[in-house]
């Protein structure tokens, strides 16, 4: 999922300081699952904004809405009729959702209430870890299902590097060396030869190096 973290409340309050009526809009998919941008968080953030502002002379009215996905027009449009008098929107979707909502309602200033951090998973309740670099050319088949792009601190393809000691990355004891893990897993599966099939020189054109990426599927288009 896309994992995000709410911005510090002081930063959000600073962004909406000049507005008297705003709407906080949440997203019911990825960021709701990571307890950062769903309906509950919309309620809490709206409440925090009201509590902070309504103790001052600079009062504020905060509307609360959550749509299933802010990255799809049919869901974003659901708030269209509720925007009368709304001077600004604080979106707590991921960066994709915030931008798309901003594009649809381009006359209304849009502010992010959330920092989009990474694509990750939930190893245990309350912990999120990054494990996909969204590089556009997946090599997990060669690496025992462990991503060298996201989980190696240097994103190298010929690890482990000299900073790897006893399976731990030089960044710190809490960071396992992805390449040590790759080696151990492939060894366990009797597939160490896979490493040799992995190209040392990754074509990063499919990643961000090639500019903003687009997928067009004519079979899915109207």
């Amino acid at each position: 999922m896309i994992v995000g973290e709410q911005k510090p409340i002081d930063e959000i309050l600073g962004m909406v300081e000049q507005y008297k009526k705003i709407m906080v809009v949440g997203c019911g998919t990825c960021v709701a699952i990571c307890y950062a941008g769903g309906e509950k968080e919309v309620g809490v953030l709206s409440s925090m904004i009201r509590l902070a502002r309504n103790q001052t002379d600079n009062k504020i009215e905060v509307e609360e809405r959550t749509v299933l996905r802010q990255c799809e027009e049919e869901y974003v449009r659901l708030i269209e009729n509720d925007l009368d008098g709304i001077e600004a929107i604080v979106s707590i979707a991921c960066g994709a959702g915030i931008q798309f909502t901003a594009e649809i309602f381009e006359n209304i200033p849009m502010f992010p209430g959330l920092n989009t951090t990474f694509i990750g998973y939930v190893p245990e309740q309350g912990v999120w870890k990054e494990n996909c670099g969204s590089c556009g050319n997946c090599v997990l088949g060669y690496t025992g299902g462990i991503c060298p792009v996201a989980r190696c601190s240097k994103s190298i393809f010929n690890g482990p590097c000299g900073g790897s000691q006893d399976g731990v990355c030089e960044l710190g004891k809490d960071v396992p060396c992805a390449w040590a893990e790759i080696y151990e897993r492939l060894k366990k599966q009797g597939r160490l030869d896979m490493i040799e099939k992995l190209s040392l020189y990754k074509d990063w054109k499919t990643a961000r190096d090639g500019g903003p990426r687009v997928i067009t599927r004519e079979d899915m288009q109207r």
Partner: protein, 66 residues
């Protein structure tokens, strides 16, 4: 000027704290009128939004007992 009296919302579990408040009532014990008791089925049902709303509506403190 009257002494400051904070408005306190007490969120009480049906099975212990609320039952205790009930018992206290039947024993004719009193508690200050600035404490407002709300029964929860269980404090496991407590939601951060209940607390936020309490503060928004003017509570000075929220007391959770369960």
């Amino acid at each position: 000027m009257a002494e400051y009296q904070p408005e306190i919302l007490a969120l009480c579990c049906n099975y212990c704290a609320f039952a205790a408040a009930d018992l206290a009532g039947s024993m004719r014990l009193t508690y200050p009128s600035n404490v407002k008791v709300v029964r929860l089925n269980c404090t496991g049902k407590l939601d951060i939004l209940y607390i936020m709303r309490a503060f928004e509506k003017g509570a000075d403190g929220v007391f959770v007992a369960g």
